[in-house]
Symmetry: C2
Subunit: 584 residues, 2 copies
């Protein structure tokens, strides 16, 4: 037997008990006549003690041979510590060791197995199995597990059935690139890995499954940006005989349950905002509403004062930042430089300071009198001590730029607190967005999203204006879920493929099975999918997805621990009837 | 709103309530002046009624337009039925329809949506979304979901953490063929889809995760036999600081919980049998012990009687089949032909009949006196009315052949009852098996399985005799799970790769990361994996795995519904720097 207890459970209640413990040597303090060892496992740390008085010579000798991360088993007696450690549950006791077995030795690990480690990211990824021994990493994986369990139990109680949809499916031209899998039994043909189980869940609705969910791996062969993973996990859901409101209710309930579990408190009903409002007020379809700095549009107030930049601009819009009127010129200039970086792309920024002494001044005093400026501050509801930033230009662009500044200031001023949660529904998304490059419309969500009934006629006259029965769940400035009521009428679905520029043949080849299914009594249905990696990260007060994945890939899509991808044997290629055709 | 209730919930308690229901038209009985409609959804069936007396003309007209599988919404009042249907929960009531909306029409489905359908397998697979509407299919998927939830909750309560391991990993030469995924970002390199998360779960143990599980898709690119799927689901588990007994206890507990949930009764501790015993008594390492017909070896009794076939045989062995002594010569000959089929490969079979009148006769009366035969029947414990079959030849082969006959008779005689459950642990598997073709040893489970400590020395002298710390959980003649205590010592793991014929370089290239991990304090660990598709099928009293998969593939690995795999665009190949190299 390797253990009677774990290293997290012994307390004064166990005094004088004979116990067996196993685990890793976290630290050794060897004072010659006395040795303390911190023994670690997933559950905690227990202090072991040996000394010249109470332990045999052999035992002391063998303890002296131990190194960090050795795996040992000890038998001993639970005794009370002289100097207690209130920080850990086992801090009142220690184990007087009577027997010690080395189960496995360890080389010196390439980085310290401590909460704060000296290992860099690449090194820790290469030795991920050692990284996982560290509490911050291990705890994140355990948190993820708990959230997955909560989600499954909640949805099961709500009558949802988890159905596994296939991983080996068919390549579709829409969306991101597919990973493909050559079929040996069907040479020249390929499976594709799913970007989402979208069509399968819709087919399950056609099949009468009524309420479906799945926590499922999805795949996208995209050029990886920071914190994008080629394989990621979705909570994928679909319901039949529902309207948008029904779906939002269920998943608001689910999210409240998770939030309650984490914070211990009940959440009010989530606020809702239209896409149009979100863009106007925050320049962003996933606004972080944990803090203010709402956009205020100034066209009426600032135009016609000979300030050409504002006069020429489609939109002049600003935010009021509370309590930073004491920013120095240097600090302000640094922010102006920040918005002028190519990633943001602003050409400049005007500031208006409502000084603590009540004086209002600005970088455009030449054009605006103090009275003009005061009117502007009133528009913002600003007060003494606040600082206003104003940007101008093309409406869409300037909103995006100002949104970036708002988020940056939110971060810098510590307004984006990990342990505060501000959920928000964004609704009434546009159905389509026009893609300048291809000169055609793309589906904003996907081609199965239904237009609002009242906007049907716009599909023929001004498709870009048509709104969709689509909704996103936003948490702390991140889209954690999104969904829509689907089209369930085959003619409307055909029309949609038309609008998106599919030929009849393409639509048939790619989605023929879905269109066919719709001929046999498809029910009204809709659903939602959560990005599970992101959801978990944000619920844990973090935003780095990678930390919540046991074995993540790096930005080149490589698993540096197992060194994948890798070349395969020529015989494998031959069997697949494939040849490499390398450019370089 | 589409419904106030589902079609499975209204009873006399709801009398006179105004309700809204939605669903599919299952049947329409149109008597002209009166129309009954069975409305179906996932939850049940509710009878709708309209008649000339109580319904408007328009309503009757629109009801007459309905066809099978139309999707409709009705509003109406719950009334008591005159002729009740005790077979369904809603059988006491019907809905007097006041409003009817057609939500979607349906073409006539290609097969009937009934428990007993007229659709053949291929047709039903092509229209799987319609097949799923049928109760037998839908119920299987719901059963699967419930079992998955039970498993997750049980293991979570036992302290297991579900960790998602990667799907895009690295090709390994051991085991079956891998599916591979070309990497666009790393041209000429490939990921592989996992045949199991074996190495990752071991790394999680090295990482201190202590108790891991996952219900996870795995992939094998094998030539498909009947009821093998290229993608399948495993309950994958691993534990640290455990011995074989600890693992068996946990998963016996889990299996008992599932069995209790299904049967309502508590199961005794599962019996155990060594591999050697299983082979000797049943010719099979996964014996179905719901019925007897244990093997009886007859070498001592039958040799030396001038019956050359038995005299030359390595093993003479038989089974006693109770109560079929009245089999005709024709029936017996048919069974003899059955064992001579190439799939079984026996050269013949001897029978001994213990007639109801007490006379014992046989097909080898020429060589054996009635006294000889009586002695044989005593050896079997046979009684009047029984029939004994005896086979002979090479010991391994004849056991396999006799096992096939035993199972066939079990099936034919109805002894393999789906609602009876006989779990069994098979233990002490051989570590290695010699492969004549390659002239080397293969791992019987996999290369990470540890040999029994007492058999260590055999590794050097007679490796084929070494037993492993390996165990299978067998249920009703099917292996539902298997596992082992793993090697956790890097030198022993090296030695094992040696024995299996890996060169140092191959071992390093394929498993270097695992060997490396073992240098940093690997704990003793072991685990088990269940074939979830099979487990679910057997627990549901069935053996056809495909029925429990929502969207299965056919025997050529094709999804006939979505028509995958399929050719991909030349641009996709070009991006992947690949070329087709088709033989035909």
């Amino acid at each position: 037997m390797f253990r009677t207890h774990t290293n997290g459970e012994l307390t004064l209640k166990n005094l004088n008990e004979k116990v067996t413990l196993s685990g890793w040597v976290q630290t050794i303090r060897d004072k010659g006549f006395m040795i303390w060892i911190d023994l670690r496992d997933r559950y905690g740390i227990t202090q072991l003690v040996l000394d010249e008085e109470r332990s045999s010579k052999e035992l002391l000798e063998s303890a002296k041979k131990l190194g960090r991360e050795f795996v040992i088993k000890v038998e001993g007696t639970v005794i009370e510590r002289t100097s207690k450690n209130p920080k850990i549950p086992t801090g009142d006791i220690e184990i007087l060791v009577e027997n010690l077995t080395i189960l496995n030795e360890s080389q010196l690990p390439p980085f310290t197995i401590e909460d704060e480690t000296d290992g860099g990211e690449e090194l820790r990824m290469k030795y991920r199995y050692l990284d996982i021994r560290r509490n911050p990493v291990k705890d994140k994986l355990i948190f993820r597990h708990k959230m997955a369990q909560k989600v499954r139990n909640y949805l099961s109680e709500e009558g949802f059935i988890e159905v596994e949809t296939p991983v080996l499916i068919k390549s579709t031209p829409e969306g991101a690139r597919d990973f493909v899998v050559p079929s040996r039994m069907n040479p020249g043909q390929f499976y594709a890995l799913p970007q989402s189980p979208q069509t399968f869940k819709q087919l399950l609705m056609v099949g009468g499954m009524d309420r479906y969910f799945q926590i499922v791996k999805c795949f996208r062969d995209e050029d990886l940006r920071a914190d994008r993973q080629p394989e990621f996990t979705q909570i994928d859901c679909e319901m039949a005989f529902v309207e948008q409101e029904d779906i939002m209710n269920v998943f608001e309930g689910m999210t409240k349950t998770l939030l309650k579990d984490i914070t211990g408190r009940d959440f009010e009903d989530f606020p809702r905002m239209t896409f149009a409002d979100a863009m106007q007020k925050y320049g962003n379809d996933k606004p972080d509403i944990r803090f203010g700095m709402e956009f205020v549009e100034l066209n009426e107030l600032v135009k016609g004062k000979d300030f050409k930049i504002f006069d020429d601009a489609e939109l002049v819009v600003g935010i009021n930042v509370e309590g930073i009127a004491d920013y120095t010129r240097k600090q302000i200039d640094e922010l102006i430089d920040w918005v002028k970086r190519p990633q943001i792309g602003a050409t400049g920024m005007v500031w208006i300071k409502f000084q603590n002494d009540g004086v209002v001044t600005s970088s455009v005093n030449k054009f605006y009198s103090e009275e003009d400026l005061k009117k502007i501050t009133e528009e913002f509801g600003a007060k003494a001590g606040d600082l206003i930033f104003v940007m101008s230009g093309n409406a869409d662009k300037v909103r995006t730029q100002l949104s970036a500044l708002r988020m940056e200031l939110g971060n810098r001023l510590g307004l984006r607190k990990g342990n505060e949660f501000a959920p928000l529904w964004v609704v009434d998304f546009p159905l389509l967005e026009f893609d300048e490059e291809s000169g055609r419309y793309h589906a904003m969500h996907h081609p199965f999203t239904s237009p609002k009934t009242e906007d049907f006629s716009l599909l023929e006259t001004d498709p870009g204006k048509a709104r969709a029965n689509a909704y996103d769940l936003v948490l702390n400035g991140n889209e954690i879920g999104g969904g829509s009521i689907r089209i369930f009428d085959k003619d409307l679905q055909s029309r949609m493929f038309d609008l998106l520029g599919f030929s009849k043949e393409e639509a048939e080849a790619q989605f023929g099975f879905l269109m066919n299914a719709f001929k046999y009594g498809a029910p009204p249905h809709g659903g939602l999918a959560f990005g599970f990696d992101r959801l978990v990260a944000i619920l844990d007060g973090n935003e780095v997805i990678r930390d919540y994945i046991a074995f993540p890939k790096n930005n080149s899509g490589r698993d540096v621990m197992i060194d994948a991808p890798a070349p395969i044997h020529q015989e494998q290629l031959t069997e697949l009837e494939l040849k490499l055709d390398l450019k370089a």
